[in-house]
Symmetry: C2
Amino acid sequence: MAKFRLDEVDHQILDMLIENTRIPFTDIAKKLLISAGTVHVRVKKLEEAGIIRGSSLTLDYQKLGYSFIAYVGIFLEKTSQTKFVLNRIHEIPYITVAHITTGKFNIFCKVRAKNTKHAKDIIFMIDDIEGVSRTETMISLEESINDKNRLMHSIFNDL
Amino acid sequence: MAKFRLDEVDHQILDMLIENTRIPFTDIAKKLLISAGTVHVRVKKLEEAGIIRGSSLTLDYQKLGYSFIAYVGIFLEKTSQTKFVLNRIHEIPYITVAHITTGKFNIFCKVRAKNTKHAKDIIFMIDDIEGVSRTETMISLEESINDKNRLMHSIFNDL
DNA sequence: TGTTTTTTTTGCATTATCTTTAATAAATAA
DNA sequence: TTATTTATTAAAGATAATGCAAAAAAAACA
């Protein structure tokens, strides 16, 4: 893959698209004082380079009846069971994120549930997976920060 | 706010937009055998109802030089310092997510860094915040799951 | 049940946006 | 410098979004 060097214009395009993926390229062009064709070409290149992997909606899960977030740390009996357990975990749709980690836990995941009872059911499902020794749950009382824009600004200012 | 009942058509529209926010409404209309006007009206309603909060890009952070993910649990000296500490945390752009939690930690956050050294610097910054008693870090070796589509399918099948 | 009222969908017209193209300009290499 | 590559542009044609009035469907009511 070709080395890819992002310049200021790329940054600004990304910046605007991160905030709203459906903003018209013509609007981006106007703000950056370039042509819409350039925006188009640049975005296509960013996609081809794999820097833009896709786009997605930000949904209000509360309004969809899912007001519960928990993080669950998983201890395994043997590290060699990691793959097997991850496969089982992947079958539970309420687990939206999972990482293999070093530190306290072997696997670390994020759970979205409807309510406390539902969360309990999910955590029990995890505990029941063969190879899982025990789990430790952190319940989110409030999602205080969730923002990738600030990170992007740092990335852009870096180089 | 008016109670909002999502039907099958709304689900399918959301489903397609979750996967690609820039898919033309005309394409959605064709697939669902409805008019583009209907798609337009429905999406507008979902936005007005706050179910769609926005949209964002999925970026390849590795390619942007940020290949390091860690989760950091924070212990506070006093719970009453939560707000103050969160404000300090909010000033660190490399912390992309933060939750107030029950369980082991008072605050729980996600860190994106360039590399180990950078991560260390960030964690030290957290440790240096007034009111933070200590932190516990889990380093991600691999992000194995990160997928909201499966959750959405469950939500849709629920009701 | 039929009737009224409200909501939703549709088709079309208008406007806006995307996307390609060929020409031009800029950057890079020889 | 000159050749070559790469990027940008304006313009044009293709495609899509948006608004609206009419029709259809659904809901409310008697």
